[in-house]
């Protein structure tokens, strides 16, 4: 290796290190702080050597130990219930629609698919206000149902477009030969298309799950006490900055774990999902 190439390589490695550190450091620091004893949480200069403790995590589940009482367990359960339900609902509705949009051309299909794409572009706050009024009228404010129904509506545009992009990758000939063999459309969908497009369908669902899990604005507007989800702990702790950084870091760490695991699993298709199929990763 000639010296020019060596230096070149070294600079690239260094820059890569900088990029990864910048991305990871603040998140690492929260996880790191969550393991610190409470007294050391905000000492400056930061204390780097300490005996790790789980006390912050334990106090999360014993709200009466904390100055601000956060019923973390309720936030966690609400997040799980709302995210899983809205993911399931939007995945099922989207799957049939995506299949139809991919395999059939019918009057209005082009208009509909682009209308659905357009919905993704509309700021959620525009529909959030009437949704609030609707939920208020239906007496559904601060319930799981309100969040599940609205998250599903926000997820569908994304899941339809993602699933469509993956179903398009399934060779049409396979489906046609099944049709010739006498299968009906639903049988083809269930026995041929779904199994072949399964990785893509799961990716789209995971994506919808991450979005629901992280959603903040509608959770803030539509819930108060009973149906609050994990992203709202930020709002709760915000007002008490410096008071309870330990439990706050622990809560944050638990809240970010599922999206991180899922993102690693669907990493390969993430770009395709983010750009709704416009760029194939």
């Amino acid at each position: 290796m000639n010296p020019m190439k060596f230096i070149d390589n070294l600079i690239t490695k260094f820059l890569l290190f900088v990029i990864l550190s910048v991305s990871f450091f603040p998140i690492f620091w929260m996880i790191f702080t969550s393991l610190k004893p409470e007294v050391l949480a905000f000492s400056i200069p930061p204390v780097l050597v300490f005996t790790p403790t789980l006390s912050n995590y334990i106090s999360l589940f014993n709200p009466y130990w904390m100055t601000i009482r956060v019923d973390f367990m309720r936030y966690l359960v609400n997040s799980i219930v709302v995210s899983i339900s809205s993911t399931a609902l939007s995945s099922i509705l989207s799957l049939f629609a995506a299949y139809s949009f991919t395999r059939f051309r019918f009057v209005g299909s082009k208009f509909l698919i682009f209308l659905i794409l357009f919905m993704r572009m509309i700021p959620p706050i525009t529909i959030a206000i009437p949704l609030y009024v609707m939920m208020y009228t239906l007496k559904l404010l601060d319930t799981h149902i309100a969040l599940i129904l609205t998250y599903t509506a926000l997820n569908i545009p994304l899941t339809v477009w993602m699933m469509r992009s993956f179903i398009m990758d399934v060779p049409k000939e396979v489906e046609e030969s099944a049709l010739v063999d006498g299968c009906g459309v639903f049988q083809v969908l269930l026995r041929v298309t779904i199994p072949l497009a399964l990785p893509g369908i799961i990716t789209a669902s995971i994506y919808a799950f991450i979005l629901s899990w992280n959603e903040f604005l509608l959770a803030l507007l539509l819930t108060l006490r009973e149906a609050t989800t994990l992203p709202l702990i930020a709002q709760l702790f915000r007002t008490a900055e410096g008071v309870q950084w330990g439990p706050m870091a622990a809560a944050g760490t638990l809240a970010i774990l599922p999206p991180i695991v899922f993102a690693f699993l669907i990493q390969k298709y993430l770009v395709r999902g983010l750009t709704m199929g416009a760029v194939k990763g």
Binding site: S109, M121, P130, V133, M134
Partner: protein, 289 residues
């Protein structure tokens, strides 16, 4: 062989009816509200049609005008920085051979975790006395700054937080584009003795243009509507230093309960977004049909 069948309609029916009920209906309702004086304080009985009054009021309202200005300033600054940093990071990440999956996962972490938690993490880092940012600055001899408490610095802190949060989006999109580049033009350029800069400027950049457009579109749309990061970091303050449109709509709605007026402002935000989307969408998805 073409049979006219109702099957495709049956398949889309549940999904489309759901969207009509839970998306199109509230969206239209919002437009209707924007022409009324609906306020939760007065209740449903006294909703009056006021025509374009909310819109006229808005363009005389210094708070809204300032919010529109800040939203554009914020979005433009964030996107320029994200494009530069994302493109640079993508070029570096493209050289990674071993452990590619782990490296990209670490790189994209800020983007996949909840924005409100991101803002919470960064709020702590920007803080005057506990934050690591001031600590690192003190190491190089810079006096601590009140990042989130100073009218001039708060916007900078919010911009940098959002740049950090979402430049992986640009990075990963461009990276996907880089990996799909054809080899032939580079071989030709090597034979012609093109420099590295020339190869980047005259081959890579033009070939990446469609991918960059996609990244630009999505970043513009999602930065214009950004709420959670700013809400947790500064809540629009100090004063109105970071009071962008989404924050203004939120306060108009939940603090003043002025649904009519808040809806009108939210329609301005929606219209800006829709016009931009329509322009870009045409160019991006034209190959699809």
């Amino acid at each position: 062989m073409k049979k006219i069948t109702l099957t495709p309609y049956f398949l889309v029916l549940p999904c489309v009816s759901y969207l009509i009920l839970m998306f199109i209906f509230p969206f239209s309702l919002s437009l209707w509200y924007s022409f009324t004086d609906f306020s939760l304080v007065r209740g449903f009985e006294s909703i009056n049609f006021v025509g374009l009054n909310n819109y006229f009021k808005m363009f005389r309202d210094p708070v809204v005008l300032n919010a529109i200005f800040l939203t554009i300033l914020f979005t433009v600054s964030v996107i320029i920085l994200q494009l530069i940093l994302g493109l640079g990071s993508a070029l570096i990440l493209n050289t990674v051979k071993k452990g590619f999956r782990v490296v990209t996962t670490i790189y994209m972490l800020p983007m996949v975790i909840a924005p409100s938690i991101i803002a919470l993490i960064m709020r702590f880092q920007w803080s005057y006395s506990h934050g690591l940012i001031n600590y690192f600055l003190s190491l190089i001899g810079i006096a601590p700054l009140s990042w989130l408490g100073d009218e001039n610095l708060a916007l900078i802190a919010v911009i940098f937080t959002e740049v950090w949060h979402q430049s992986p989006f640009v990075g990963l999109t461009v990276l996907a584009g880089l990996q799909a580049l054809p080899v032939a033009p580079y071989e030709a350029a090597n034979i012609d003795g093109a420099s590295r800069w020339q190869r980047f400027r005259y081959i890579t950049l033009p070939l990446l243009k469609p991918v960059l457009m996609v990244a630009l579109l999505f970043r513009t749309i999602f930065t214009l509507r950004l709420f959670d990061i700013i809400f947790i970091l500064t809540g629009g303050g100090p004063g109105r230093a970071t009071y962008v449109l989404s924050i203004d709509i939120y306060y108009e709605f939940l603090s003043h309960y002025e649904i009519g007026y808040a809806s009108a402002i939210s329609w301005v935000l929606a219209l800006i977004t829709m016009v931009l989307s329509a322009v870009y969408l045409k160019s991006i998805y034209k190959e699809w049909r």
